[in-house]
Subunit: 199 residues, 2 copies
Amino acid sequence: MSTPTSNRRTGRRPGTTDTRDAIVRASREQFAETGYDRATIRKIAGAAGVDPALVVHFFGSKENLFREVMALPAVVADAMAALADGDRSTVGRRLAELVVAVLENPATRVILVGRIRSAASHPEAATLVRETVSRDMLRIATALDTDQPELRATLVGAHVVGVAMVRYIVDVEPLASVAPETLIDLLAPDFQRYLVGTL
Amino acid sequence: MSTPTSNRRTGRRPGTTDTRDAIVRASREQFAETGYDRATIRKIAGAAGVDPALVVHFFGSKENLFREVMALPAVVADAMAALADGDRSTVGRRLAELVVAVLENPATRVILVGRIRSAASHPEAATLVRETVSRDMLRIATALDTDQPELRATLVGAHVVGVAMVRYIVDVEPLASVAPETLIDLLAPDFQRYLVGTL
């Protein structure tokens, strides 16, 4: 799940955006590999090839760094909210496609895995993750204008967390290696019920 | 989720069974609270009020201790296998009732939470948990004599893990506080499909 970071500073001196991006990538990897409580600003800075002071300069505290890098990219959050606009009878499948795309892309999977590892490792991190999980899923559940959107959002969230744990963190077969298309087929009916079905 | 352990050694001197039970309880609590990698035989012994050497005497290594105390009690494993004997059209509900009973009972919830926290915290613990998860759920899936029992078992396992994470570890509302009966209603249709439905 690591992406190469070693040659990021070769060639020209990196600008502010490059440096910030390097810190974002390194911190996501640290949180995903070790969880919130064992990730340190020093280790993240080391992996990004920058001075720890620079991490503090850009992000302030570790808590704030976690909040920023563990948010889903805006493009994903927007795609999620947009799911509610299409045909209601297939919204579960569209969500399954988006969730599987996020989980199968190493750049976004690292965010989900980082949240889960962190939430499991420390109550303080759990608080941070709690806000994030509810917010992401609540957007689509609310947009669909059904009863109990909060409960629907947490049911979808719980299912995504469970699949991510078993498939990517604990690696239980055969779920760990079913094809992405199969995973979409498996998740779609559950999401359909959670989002617009009778609970 | 902690149960009182401080007065366990007052009164008469505990016998072998009492001592072993105290170690089992203390180690489940430690694994559930801190995860496998941060739980130590010293801390577990301290919580159980015994000498660390006694923990080693009874259980050998930390790895072996984890294996023994993180197995579901035989009564639960037997109840799970027996679910396959009844009416197939309601097997999902019976499994949901059993899963919710296990999760709502602090004495067994601590086992599930301990597995999840441990698997999330360390790859080595993930290996231990992997075996356990597959074994428990595979028993019922195999007994039902359907196609793809391994995949069905991991789907049920993933769902239980996700709900346990969100409800008991990350505490996301409203799933964290729905009544047990409601949780059974929510899980039953998913389990029904996973166990005997079309995947």
